[in-house]
Subunit: 316 residues, 2 copies
């Protein structure tokens, strides 16, 4: 039995070296780094000790090797990843602007990453997992939505739990198909890992506690963990809440920090680690992730996280 | 009336910094550089003083801006370039191996570059040009082949000449569609710019002079210029031949040198420059192109080429 199933886009990420760099003139880019939100999540969940399987598609090219090798080397079961010579591995170029914003050029929808659908879901992998994690970023095409919906059915039949990081992006607001898919996953999910922006998408301008109460009232959710980036996280279940502050670090690259937080948290839950320690470890994983350049270059093991926690300063 | 029409793939190129670098681990890449064989050709033809128009398609993204701005800034008429938000701008990643070979990851067939077809060809641009240049690399999809064939018809109706750089790549050998397209262009072409490998593709192991004679016998060709890279070029018409040696330079990056050679040669012919000087300038342009990193970063004006020729040493 697999602890955790993750599914979705496998990407090679190429990052501008310098803040203020653009796509419209030559410069220095660093990469390719293995990336894709569900891949970062899976890699971190495996590094922290859970058994993790992945369903996705990569090209028959060097970028595909990069990602699949990384996941395999870090202990992820990659038997659910197919390779294709029909389309290249998905790519994401990113530049960092002076105001802290990022600009992207993605090739996902017309890359190997888009070649998953309901048939990509191995019933044994999905039916036999204890946790199935869904990334909002993986709900970008009809094929990937069909794959997630099929996996949800199988996971529920097998009594697995569903965790969901909505990660709402601007295009969701204009796509009824993606919006429907997000609400479908929300309806099926047991553990919700929203950002403040995600809460706002679901509940408008209501204060956090009210928004969380509304979500508990109208959904089967058993746990909501609101990610506040550098300020840590707030855990809610139906009877209590718990704020766990994060750690002071110098941010080098924010990409992947939330995915890394989620991977650590679900991994800890799957291993029976108590919630307060799990949240502390997840915060530490997010802090260590932003300290390294590259989406999963700052991924960590439990012992690395423990050493970091012992030596780090909490935000207060 | 436009001197030269060029058509085909517009690409952003991202190049490994270090020889021996791979796609399967993070490293330093330089770029994006404006690229695509027909774009390099067009840019160089415009820089050396011809009036040049381009037909192609780029994405509505930073990479598209990069390429279109560069061509416009260097004097190319970009009115025949469409922009799309349907697919991203084409990309080419390249690494250099210790043995001198290169490895590529292309996204062309599923990029904006693939979105041209017969309807992309503005009859005024094609019917009104004096030279239409075809790159073998632009014959990769049914749409681009249809576009080239349509342009050939219009150019011939307008009494324009056709130049052709076959640049035969391995996939041609297994694709009857591409092979047919190459032979179609060869049949229509007046000026052929083959490499030694291209000659071998057309004529097998025959010595160069025999191969050239065979091509003249069976085609309407008026001129063949065989590109021998660092060794210069050999010009043939139906009555004479002329070997023009190249120049000694330290090679930094071979990408684009042949395209730059062709752009200079056709530009010179369009401007009525005599053939010996045109070939010397084309050799010089190829030599200066390999001295700079980036496919069209070493593109040059006629006065830059003249200064280079005055100071350079010929290969003998």
């Amino acid at each position: 039995m697999t602890d955790i199933l993750s599914m979705g886009e496998l990407l090679a990420e190429i990052m501008a070296e310098r803040v203020g760099q653009t796509f419209t003139e030559p410069g220095v880019f660093l990469g390719p780094y293995p990336s894709g939100a569900p891949a970062i999540f899976a890699d971190q969940a495996a590094k922290t000790g859970a058994s993790v399987a992945f369903i996705g598609c990569a090209g028959e090219d060097g970028f595909g090797d990069l990602i699949v090798n990384r996941l395999r080397d870090d202990g992820v079961d990659v038997s659910g990843i197919t390779r294709t010579d029909e389309l290249p591995t998905g790519t994401a170029f990113v530049t960092y602007q002076e105001d802290g914003s990022r600009e992207f050029i993605f090739n996902i929808g017309n890359s190997a990453a888009a070649l998953i659908d309901a048939d990509s879901v191995d019933p044994a992998l999905a039916g036999g997992c204890r946790y199935f994690h869904v990334m909002g970023s993986s709900l970008g095409s009809s094929g990937s939505i069909a794959a997630v919906k099929r996996a949800l059915e199988l996971v529920k039949q097998g009594d697995g739990k569903v965790s969901f990081d909505p990660n709402i992006r601007p295009e969701v607001l204009t796509s009824p198909v993606i919006s429907e898919a997000i609400h479908h996953v929300l309806k099926e999910c047991d553990i919700l890992l929203p950002s403040e922006a995600d809460l706002q998408y679901f509940c408008g301008d209501a204060p956090e506690r009210e928004a969380v109460a509304t979500l508990f009232d109208s959904h089967r959710l058993e746990m909501i963990v609101v990610k506040n980036a550098a300020e840590g996280c707030v855990y809610y279940d139906r009877t209590r809440s718990l704020h766990v502050p994060s750690f002071q670090v110098a941010e080098v690259d924010p990409t992947g920090a939330g995915d890394c937080f989620g991977g650590t948290l679900i991994s800890c839950l799957a291993q029976g680690i108590d919630i307060e320690r799990a949240l502390t470890l997840a915060n530490a994983a997010g802090a260590m992730a932003v300290s390294e350049r590259g989406p999963m270059e700052g991924n960590t093991t439990l012992s690395e996280l423990d050493r970091f926690i012992d030596s780090a300063e909490r935000h207060v």
